[in-house]
Symmetry: C2
Subunit: 393 residues, 2 copies
């Protein structure tokens, strides 16, 4: 409250209650105009300790609130006298002014916040290793670009997803990075329709709208893997897909066919089967494949890789040795290597994907009016000991 003293005296002078005496320290040279004064008086009436506003800065510096705003955000061609700028900045310093983000946002300004919405919970320890690299990339890049990171944690638990709790979930951020396997397509479509800026991690095609995403390139390394298998003598190759039937699975299947074509395999020798988890993989099914002439299985991995691990376990138990009798490869992140087993697979560059997603989003937010951007990033091959040359019988 003592900070107001000079301004108060200045007010008294205006009202004729006091003689104009120049405070030695920091009294506005120019008496404040009636306009800002009225605002300021109204402001002073309010109770309780409040954060200083531009009006108070203006009052203290003897300028109008507009000028304060100009000093703060000006720069591009807007002329402000050096002396004025100095006085305003001094007042800002004195009062410890900080712009009210809510008011800025209301004027349509950016808040420098990007949201991170994960369709599953993020921090749980069991999936930590899966999501953490994405988080790492997102956080790093956001920090580098000067954005804070808003984690939408509350929307997940309360069922209803993005549009939970009166569907205002994501609006707190300037834009949003969406992440998660079990995403609601409706939510995505709605967001796109509303024009909310967001980037999805992972490929999704939504009809009618084109959305921004950054996704790993599953096609190329899958094709390469299939060609490699063909070169090792494999003819009958099986793709074990996740039952969700999402785009990543489609990409892998496309890679499979593309590789087969390049290696002159007959399309009829490609088998595609589906699984929704470890329970689907029974002994009969696996031995059936082998009896059917399948010598190589390429697996679309899930977060916990349960399907692939079950396959290996069942096969071994049934006497089908990997890789001697059956080559197995993961079309993505494989289970961690053990003493005897390094899975042939390819690594998804999660950190880089997180980074790229933020970059795309910031482009969307700051850049000129652009169409949605899609980015596909390459994976790196991991060659282990789970595939081998086929032995002709």
């Amino acid at each position: 409250m003592p900070l107001f003293a000079p301004a108060l005296r200045c007010l008294d002078v205006m009202l004729g209650k006091s003689t104009p005496c120049v405070h030695p320290l920091r009294v506005p040279r120019v008496p404040p105009s009636r306009y800002v004064l009225v605002k300021w008086i109204a402001m002073r009436k309010r109770a309780g300790p409040r954060r200083p506003t531009q009006v108070e800065i203006a009052q203290r510096a003897g300028v109008s609130q507009a000028t304060v705003s100009l000093v703060l955000n000006g720069g591009d061609g807007v002329p402000v006298a050096e002396e004025t700028r100095r006085r305003v900045q001094q007042a800002i310093e004195d009062l410890g002014y900080a712009a009210n983000p809510a008011a800025r946002a209301l004027r349509g300004m950016t808040v420098k916040t990007i949201g991170l919405y994960t369709f599953e919970s993020v921090f749980p320890v069991d999936q930590r290793d899966f999501y953490h690299p994405f988080l790492l990339g997102v956080e790093e890049e956001a920090a580098r670009l000067g954005y804070d990171l808003l984690l939408f944690t509350s929307a997940n638990t309360a069922q209803g997803g993005v549009y939970a709790r009166g569907r205002n979930a994501l609006l707190k951020a300037d834009g949003c990075v969406l992440l998660g396997r079990h995403i609601s397509r409706d939510d995505l479509a709605n967001l796109a329709k509303e024009g909310f800026p967001f980037v999805f991690i992972g490929r999704r095609d939504i009809s009618e709208t084109e959305l921004s995403y950054v996704a790993p390139d599953y096609v190329t390394p899958t094709a390469a893997l299939v060609e490699e298998l063909a070169a090792l003598g494999h003819r009958r190759i099986l793709l074990l897909r996740q039952t969700d039937g999402a785009e990543p699975g489609d990409d892998r299947e496309r890679g499979l066919r593309q590789g087969a074509r390049a290696a002159n395999l007959h399309p009829d020798d490609l088998v595609v089967e589906f699984s929704s988890g470890a329970a689907d993989i029974g002994t009969d099914r696996v031995t059936g494949w082998v009896r059917d002439g399948v010598t190589a299985v390429v697996v679309e991995p899930s977060e916990d890789n349960a399907t692939g691990l079950a396959l290996a376990e069942v096969a071994e138990a049934a006497g089908v040795r990997i890789p001697d009798h059956l080559s197995v490869a993961f079309l993505g992140s494989a289970p961690p290597p053990t003493a005897t087993r390094i899975w042939t697979s390819f690594e998804i560059p999660r950190v880089e994907i997180g980074r790229a997603a933020v970059q795309l989003l910031v482009n969307l937010l700051e850049g000129a009016e652009q169409p949605p951007l899609q980015l596909v990033v390459p994976c790196t091959d991991v060659r282990g000991n789970s595939i081998s040359r086929v032995v002709r019988r």
Copy 2:
């Protein structure tokens, strides 16, 4: 735009351009008042696709904007006719309305967001195991209480801490959880002075202001450990403190003296030394302690436990065996156990602390005007094989 059709017709009716014809579907029974109409016309003039506002809802439902707001946030005694409520909610449903968080915030409402400011970077992998449990607790509790979590990542890299970038850092959230060993006391004091609601994780005393924190109880388990050592025959006990001289170190020293008093040890037999890292722990220093009669060392741990590990290494190298010649215990989190060594220590309940911090903060935000709250949570003892009965020579 087709959604506006009924409202548009309604406007035409008002202006006399059209005959009042009741749309079969959803036309406001009551013609909108001139007031909301003016607002609505002004709104329609604006270009570009925009999110629907309360004014549009009001227009569509044939009520005033105030009523819409009442329907949305009312409940406590404010009477709204059931029919009105229905119409408004229908309009909200139709247009997909979502309250603008910025406008709410500007009116001084809570945004249901709590900030998390870490004085060091959070996600880096090397300190992941240290910070992750706190994060986990904070995130869980925030989600449970319906708050989103805002990570202030941008403020850290840009030097300047809390008050970086025009010192508006934390204002985006309703309140903030602060975390980190190398905190700026000035920042804490400033925040408290400004009346910004926050809770610090870890004990800090700031003169002149009383701030909210939740911290582990270092005193009790330290005292217990010292009593235990005394019971094992130790007389001369050394406390190895971190040089930062922060409150956690003070607490441990207090625990040391308290335990010594309870065990009837002579105060002069307590030695307190400081270290800022592994480099401080030389062979001469350690052997000096032993020669001086010290039989037990209790170590204040750092994030990476470098000091304590260095102590063990140097001692072993100098032929001082642990625990036979020298008992060593950690006053907090110890290095992970190995095949031969389990460190005697106590575990800080990080997840619970994170949870408690959020609870305190939410209390601060939603509860009545209360004084700052401090919370001290107990640790759990870990008894290993790094201390033993002293052998009298």
